[in-house]
Symmetry: C2
Subunit: 661 residues, 2 copies
């Protein structure tokens, strides 16, 4: 064990295990998580070659091998709780996406939700037993978020009682679905349904794409891998071009909408039935942000504790990097953010389950709020996390660029979350739509409930976008409740500003749509402020649940740092609105410096509390024992370029060059 | 040609070729650049396999092949001007770093600067003719920016008149030098010189590391590749462990410092002789930032012109992404930044050459300023560019993640610039040191000249960090000269704030060093504001040189956007200092929206003016003809995972799984 890191742990002021339990949701959850992790980590079937040293094809091959093992073991051990399955899977694949993700996460659930009993009989057990391996093919090469733009067609032919599927243009080729390229033999294809000459919009069809026995593509199917990407090397994201592919009428998922044998179309009873999955996935992404950021912080902070560099006082030995104020200022606000997002993730999960219960009992009232919240927080947390991972990486100096640090991989596996499951800017605008609607309801005299209820107060207080110099400055910058209040007022003011912008555009005779587009910058800003408020509030609320004094104290410092740092990063908003005075903003800068010093002795303990096992972290820089350089040297020596002392290029090019010059 | 992009070009209000000439530095430079590019692009010897489809070893192999060809051709064609060589090389290697970079860029120049005539006789021609291939081994696994911390030793043994080189610890292993792993047979090793029992600090030694004939590592040498990284796949960054390696006394580079045969050490006449190279490289990096950002903007803006998505007005066809205000707000400020950095790059190059002339004539007076400026601007431009490339990438939706977009590679090849040649935070603090020193000189009654002369005025005007409500707001937000002025005042105020912070710390009985460290956040902020001012100023100055009215007009809009956007991103600073009023900040937001609309018709023409040939851009999304999706499909089909219809993993794992479930 590196002596620096031993000393760091001795300096901690709180019991790490207690904080771990809070993050897990209780001591019994910590215990169970560790049991599951141990199951995987001690299982020789999951040993792997370092993916950094493999080709793309080898990485895919290894991932398929582990996924197949994983399916067997999960059933063997009888792990059935979805959260436990998720934990097991993440352990097996080190949080990397894997080839069966869409089979397990989209194909099977879609069958469960949208297949008729007859279709369940035909498809579910074969799919459960991996005879059928499926994916979910929605996105096309030229079409993403906007579903109405999708071009794939499914035209009903009553003569044969079949649907004929086609990709009529290049831009309509299905593109990106995970597992589509090489792994799947079936796909649920989203296509515009045509019957009796009318288009009835998007519907889902089960399309066999490869021969069940030989795995060769079926006639009319052009399928393959979309080529190398930024990350996602284990997954065969694929393309699918359909050329007059005929499937039986019974392959349309008909639990809701139906096409009769004669081609008569029957509408679904409600259009919003698949709403839930989307909200669920976006809520999960908030937790995934916390997870990725926790890893990055663990690596950067542990390495900063053992890395000595440069000098503060001449003549003295090189200090730990973590003693530099600039390094603390880079990392501690991100550490605070990792905790903030962890608690927001817990809240989103709990809220999702609560509202799902309500929905099952017929109460849909909170759904729009949850939808808006999950969209905004998905964007807010993924953007922040994506940038933060890179700050962590760059805070490690040159070694952050080495794949053995794990940081490049954490980044490339995480950053796609900014784009998939709803592109972030589109998400922010969806939340903005809800905020503007809510604001207008208040203006119309309605009383709002739930998380946007602050818009009632805002109207009540006649908050103005201009600073009111006379407004008494009641903010206490050491008091979280007071800071929650200013974040709330900032959000209210920016929602009001955005709404005003729309109104002004309308006064210039713009259409509703153009007015919206011409206010989009303000709308995104309002959503951002709303989400920021929610995060500060939820972090503060969480403190109320913490009984242990020492843990409460350190988490309070983190929450305060999170809130104050956010103010300095957006100080213009707070000054502009007259919510804070100039001396207060200066005080806040000073207070942040104090918090950095205060958190310094607990920094390593705070990342230890994330309890990310070395095998899961998989980072030479982030090792628990701090023995970084020895292991880095060992790792480098195993690199494929070192398998021979002399690379063949010497004999091929460099030696012959001598005689030519 | 895609009709959308044709229309975009028809809408441009200025002559693209004229702007290209301005960027190149004159029509004749444009002509010559294109000649050189054509030389490479039409040369079948430089055809390459798509690196995205190759293994690391194959990529290295291909790069060595092309580098060898490049050396031959440059000599064959008699290309001798360093800038032309640089252009040729970038064309051959698509701006990617290559295995001979350090041989050409560090080994040969170091010989030229630091070798004695005798050493030149022994080493230069063999190195020139690639018998000797060398690298420059400074960084160690545990030591980077802080040179005094390096641990490698070179101990003189008068008995044999040899130096004995050693890597005494794991942390002293040389790490990162390009070309060290596999390519080089010599290294210039930086080591602590010991003779007669005294350490004389870092000196440079020429160390043979591989056999000239077999290329096998020599006795006592442990050398190899440091393993896969984030980018830099073509380069064998290497490690080097020295175990009692003996080299003749004559292998120490002795143009300045010397060790006599008896071990007597003779000091160099001046310690600052190698200062210039560092400044030169950092100045070049500013230009490299502009280049990388221009590429990223070209891809994102062209693709946004041909990509249709979602809807603004219901029922109408999907609009071009570029018509969304949010997309314009993401990309146009970055386009403005690309132009700003291009002009700053031109300025730095010119200034470097001017000051080098002065130095050759014995005038060192401007060196400290250039050193401070190149350090700060290196950090300022690389941080901004690194983030901006990712914004460009994410603005392309899912396809930005595909390697065929080229954006992932632009990012991973660029982002290391934030760390090498001086870690950015360290660079910012170096600039801050100069600023604080200058500020104190003013306080002491000195009159400053050069770029920091604004600190004279600041003192003169008694600028305060607190807002002076009574101060007349004279800023005209439509006038660049006026905006340069507020950026200047902001910088002056933040330099003052940082200096005050140091003073306050000193009053709390902190040592100078601790006071500095405890003010580091403020110091970095001051440097950042200083650099921002310089960039706005240089962009504005450049406009004065532009004769063509149409080009002047569009560049003025860009400069204004750059300046105003920077204010909104840092509005807290301007409000806090009372430099702008709240209504002005609101006006600026409105004005930015107008500028976005104004620039919209010229967006494609403005990236066309960067004149980056399709072969150099190498991006499916950024193609000049806009035919994106057809080419993406073609590219994907060539992906190695599609070389067989059925991947072997099906037979190995998925089919056998069926019988086990």
């Amino acid at each position: 064990m590196n002596p620096d890191i031993v000393k760091e742990r001795q300096n901690a002021t709180f019991d790490v295990e207690k904080l771990t339990n809070i993050l897990d949701g209780g001591p019994e959850k910590t215990k169970r998580r560790r049991e599951i992790e141990a199951l995987v980590q001690n299982d020789p079937d999951f040993e792997e070659d370092d993916p950094n040293f493999l080709s793309r094809s080898e990485r895919y091959d290894q991932a398929v091998r582990k996924s197949a093992q994983m399916i067997l073991k999960i059933r063997e051990y009888g792990i059935a709780d979805p959260e436990e399955i998720f934990c097991y899977k993440n352990c097996v694949h080190h949080n990397r996406p894997e080839p069966l993700d869409l089979h397990l996460g989209m194909f099977l659930p879609t069958l469960l939700n949208q297949a008729t009993p007859e279709q369940m009989d035909r498809f579910f057990m074969p799919a459960w037993n991996l005879h059928i391996i499926g994916t979910y093919a929605q996105t096309e090469i030229g079409h993403g978020t906007h579903l109405r733009g999708l071009e794939t067609t499914a035209t009903y032919d009553p003569a044969t009682q079949e649907f004929v599927l086609n990709s009529p243009t290049v831009s309509s080729i299905k593109w990106w679905p995970g597992g589509l390229g090489k792994t799947s033999n079936h796909a649920i294809v989203l296509a515009q349904l045509y019957t009796r000459g009318n288009c009835h919009g998007l519907h889902a069809f089960i399309v066999p794409i490869r021969d069940m026995s030989t795995h060769e593509p079926l006639p009319g199917i052009v399928v393959g891998d979309i080529g190398p990407k930024f990350g996602f090397n284990e997954v065969d994201n694929g393309f699918l071009k359909l050329e007059n592919v005929r499937i039986p009428r019974e392959n349309m998922l008909m639990k809701y909408a139906k096409v009769e044998p004669d081609g008569t179309y029957m509408k679904p009873p409600s259009a919003k039935l698949t709403y839930g999955t989307m909200v669920f996935i976006r809520s999960m992404i908030v937790g995934a942000s916390a997870c990725a950021l926790s890893k990055a912080c663990t690596i950067a902070i542990r390495y900063s504790a053992v890395r000595h560099q440069s000098e503060i006082r001449p003549g003295e030995p090189e200090p730990q990097i973590l003693d530099y104020q600039t390094q603390q200022h880079k990392l501690f606000p991100l550490l605070a953010m990792a905790y903030a997002f962890s608690f927001v993730g817990q809240y989103m999960k709990a809220t999702y389950h609560r509202i799902t219960e309500d929905i099952n009992q017929g109460d849909f009232s909170e759904m729009p709020e949850l939808h808006a919240l999950s969209a905004g927080l998905k964007a807010f947390t993924t953007w922040a996390t994506s940038s933060a991972i890179e700050v962590c990486r760059m805070s490690c100096g040159g070694h952050g660029y080495s794949r053995c640090s794990a940081l490049p991989d954490i980044y490339v596996e995480f950053t796609p979350m900014c784009t998939y499951e709803g592109e972030n800017t589109v998400m922010m605008l969806q939340t903005a739509r809800y905020l503007v609607k809510s604001y207008r309801q208040v203006k119309d005299g309605q009383q709002l409930s739930g998380i946007v209820s602050y818009l009632n107060e805002a109207e009540h207080r006649r908050v103005q976008a201009q600073p009111v110099t006379a407004r008494p400055t009641v903010v206490d910058i050491n008091d979280l409740a007071s800071l929650v209040e200013v974040y709330k007022l900032r959000a209210a003011i920016l929602v009001e500003l955005a709404t005003k912008s729309i109104q002004e555009e309308l006064q210039h005779r713009k259409s509703q749509e153009d007015a919206w587009n011409n206010s989009a910058i303000d709308l995104v800003r309002a959503s951002d402020a709303h989400c920021h408020y929610v995060v500060v509030k939820l972090f503060t609320d969480k403190l109320g649940e913490i009984g242990d004094t020492a843990v409460h104290s350190v988490l309070s410092s983190l929450a305060l740092l999170y809130a104050l740092y956010g103010i300095t990063q957006n100080s213009g908003d707070f000054l502009q609105a007259g919510l804070l005075s100039v001396p207060q903003v200066l005080q806040i800068s000073g207070h942040i410096k104090e918090l950095l010093s205060q958190l310094r002795p607990n920094a390593v303990a705070l990342v230890d509390a994330f309890d990310i096992h070395d095998k899961r972290l998989n980072s030479v820089l982030g090792r628990y024992d701090g023995n970084v350089y020895e292991q880095m040297f060992e790792w480098a020596r195993r690199s494929p370029l070192n398998s021979t002392e002399v690379h063949e290029s010497f004999h091929k090019y460099l030696k012959p060059l001598r005689s030519k010059l």
